[in-house]
């Protein structure tokens, strides 16, 4: 199957319109997302376990995935990962989180850290 196409290499009006739309989408995308309340705890999922860690007490917790052990650091009500064994360290670059719904993900090491807010705690059975 072959289409005759016309694809100029110089920008046209439609390109400019698309560019403006995409810039607007990028700039306003944070508004579409619910900001989330300050979370109370993080849920740490690894292939073997699901652990809850409260954000109100500082601490350093080892989190182990298939690649090795990273360190989940909780300080001042926020959580972030350190010493990640994964190659790209995207999980560390995702920074520290404290609002419900925010996540830190390490795909290579199969770790997901998610902040759970006050409104979600009712769903957790203890």
């Amino acid at each position: 199957m072959r289409f005759e196409i016309s694809l100029p290499s110089r920008p046209r009006l439609a390109d400019g319109i698309l560019l403006v739309i995409l810039i607007a989408l990028t700039a306003f995308s944070p508004r579409f997302l619910p900001a989330g309340l300050i979370g109370e705890l993080v849920i740490v999922r690894t292939p073997d376990s699901v652990t809850e860690i409260f954000l109100d007490t500082d601490g350093r917790y080892p989190v182990t995935g298939p690649l090795g052990t990273a360190l989940l650091v909780v300080e001042k009500g926020r959580a972030h990962l350190e010493n990640a064994p994964c190659p790209l360290k995207i999980c560390q670059a995702m920074g520290s989180i404290n609002r419900s719904g925010q996540v830190i993900v390490c795909l290579p090491n199969s770790i997901v850290v998610k902040v759970s807010g006050p409104e979600e705690v009712d769903a957790v059975s203890r």
């Binding site: 196409i5 694809l7 100029p8 290499s9 560019l19 995409l22 990028t26 995308s29 579409f32 993900v105």
Partner: protein, 171 residues
């Protein structure tokens, strides 16, 4: 038309796309969330020289080769790369067929669709939380910038190809 020249050009562009995508993986990147998407340059050149199906083949070939050679056909990285490839084609092909856009619109549309496709699949399959969409401002800005850059390079490259004596598979 399955002329030898067309098939040869296609093979070269797939190889080029694979090489560029591999280069991007090997070279240390201080911003791991941001990819240049250099492989898409070859897809754009294929659109210009071989038509819509050529570009689709180059993207499919690149995604397949990268998955085979860089760790696992069904690894998260390969699934996300395939999601990005499919999404970018789903946007780029209609943009081309509409006849209103230049290389630049197609390139930034494709780059943006790539990250949206990846984020969507990442949220649906791997993370199951929309919190990942918080990455959109960073990734979207990068997609627009790299999309413009790639279109510029692809335009230059196509110019060179078209002025060569042996015009490979040019319509």
């Amino acid at each position: 038309m399955r002329s030898p020249a067309r098939i040869t050009t296609l093979a070269l562009l797939v190889a080029g796309a694979f090489a560029l995508a591999s280069l991007e993986r090997v070279v240390p990147n201080p911003f791991p969330m941001v990819r240049l998407g250099l492989g898409n340059i070859m897809t754009l050149v294929a659109f210009m020289t071989l038509g819509v199906s050529g570009g689709a083949w180059v993207t499919a070939g690149r995604v397949g080769l990268v998955a085979l050679l860089w760790g696992g056909v069904f690894s998260p990285a390969a699934v996300l790369s395939a999601a990005g490839g499919v999404a970018s084609l789903m946007v780029m092909v209609p943009l081309i067929l509409s006849g209103r856009f230049s290389l630049y619109g197609v390139s930034i549309g494709g780059a943006y669709a790539h990250i949206l496709g990846q984020l969507t699949v990442a949220v649906l399959i791997y993370v199951r939380s929309p919190g990942l969409l918080a990455l959109l401002p960073v990734m979207g800005t990068a997609a627009i910038a790299t999309g413009l850059f790639n279109a510029w390079i692809a335009g230059k490259l196509t110019e060179v190809l078209r002025t060569q004596d042996a015009k490979p598979g040019i319509r």
